[in-house]
Assembly symmetry: C2
Amino acid sequence: MISRSTKICIIGLGLLGGSYAKGLYQAGYHVRGIDIDPEAISFAKRMHWIEEGGDDVSLVKDCDIVISALYPKTFISWIKENKGLLKKGAILTDVAGIKREVIEEINKELDSEVEFIACHPMAGREFKGIQYADCSLFEQANFLIVPTQENSQKAIGVAEDIAKILKFKHISCLSAEEHDVMIGFLSQLTHVIAVSLMNVNDNSHLAEYTGDSFRDLTRIAKINEELWPELFLLNQDNLVNEIDAFTQELQSFKSLLESGDIEGMKQKLITSTNRRKAFDKGR
Amino acid sequence: MISRSTKICIIGLGLLGGSYAKGLYQAGYHVRGIDIDPEAISFAKRMHWIEEGGDDVSLVKDCDIVISALYPKTFISWIKENKGLLKKGAILTDVAGIKREVIEEINKELDSEVEFIACHPMAGREFKGIQYADCSLFEQANFLIVPTQENSQKAIGVAEDIAKILKFKHISCLSAEEHDVMIGFLSQLTHVIAVSLMNVNDNSHLAEYTGDSFRDLTRIAKINEELWPELFLLNQDNLVNEIDAFTQELQSFKSLLESGDIEGMKQKLITSTNRRKAFDKGR
């Protein structure tokens, strides 16, 4: 459904928006970019990832596909202010890491002539900014499409096309509720754990002593402090539940340890080993 | 202090014992092996990692350096039963992942004619058995020497020689108390977290949706269920403290989330980012 003549506009040329622009450009598509940062625009132009770009929101006017790569709250504000500029029949999509509130707020703003199809490309890096853009990130990554009951097959097809053009490894569809529960566990809880593990101990000589485990568990403790608190709060209910469930599991391990229950700990380790093996096979 | 004529005996040819044998053999040293498993012995002989070997404990008799690569409790029992076979002037060392109890129990058994120098090579894999032995593991790993006040410079020198021959990246000395606190945090707490994260959710379709975070945080959830509960229990006091401190940190994050404190969460993320950057530089 996306063709070489489709006009695509990316709003927000950060790490993800930049990687989208690069991937679409490399596949031969026409891309425009909107960003308030002139350096991001000139970088994208210098790399030829966008043909036109600037901070002028009216660049969006005649575009068939509009991709927001803004932070969720900024995306919602942007649409509130600029929805009137979107072309009739345009498809709007996004990259936000949480979905319920984004879908609700955006659909509240749009009239029936622009369709929003929510997407979550599960790829990122520990850095921010277009200078770290890298569309090879997508080749090992999952692409989630989060349609509502109102979405058309056409819009879902556009989302699939984007994922295929950008060479995502696996495309799934799920509901906003399922998405936010799952992401609360797989992504948000894991980041909260990594941050807490890094923060609980200030021994600065750790690197001399550590094996791989601590290194692996804290890699994602280097984290974008502007984006993530916003994502956490937009999924507050699910993330609180996940922290509670995890804490309970940790306490149940501690009880076995305190009572010297070797057999009980062994069973926990057998379960985790089997699950991790199954997880490896599922990849 | 170790020369080409030094007779070295490794007790226990599993993953670590096998990797020691391989590394020492490749560096041109004479190695014997003792193991109750005839297949481990024949594997090590076939690879030429050991010159002699079997289940006969008297193989240890004329050896200058004896390296236990047994699990901690098995090591203690082995010494209780076979200490009389050790040569006068021999140096005994080990690879156990916890130190206070091992050092106390072993030194209780030995008379003044055999000296024990405790070591902890911080290297491992998610597999067990000599068939996974790989001495290249050591090149990125830390080697910890854990002397008591009674240890001689000679014995510490022997431990350093072993680490150098096996090409460990970094050698440190620390007390048994320091060691067990540090390992309770860096290694044991991280494994308990990974196991608990894997066990808290039985959604078997996770692999379709996950990004790198969950994968990284659960890699070590594939774990040797015979060894680790023993290690955890031998460091019960420290590990309980670490689980408590981590739980408290996690709860403090949850409080910020529940009260919608974006700024408080942001500060936690800035701290963790800075610490992880410092950690990267320290490597």
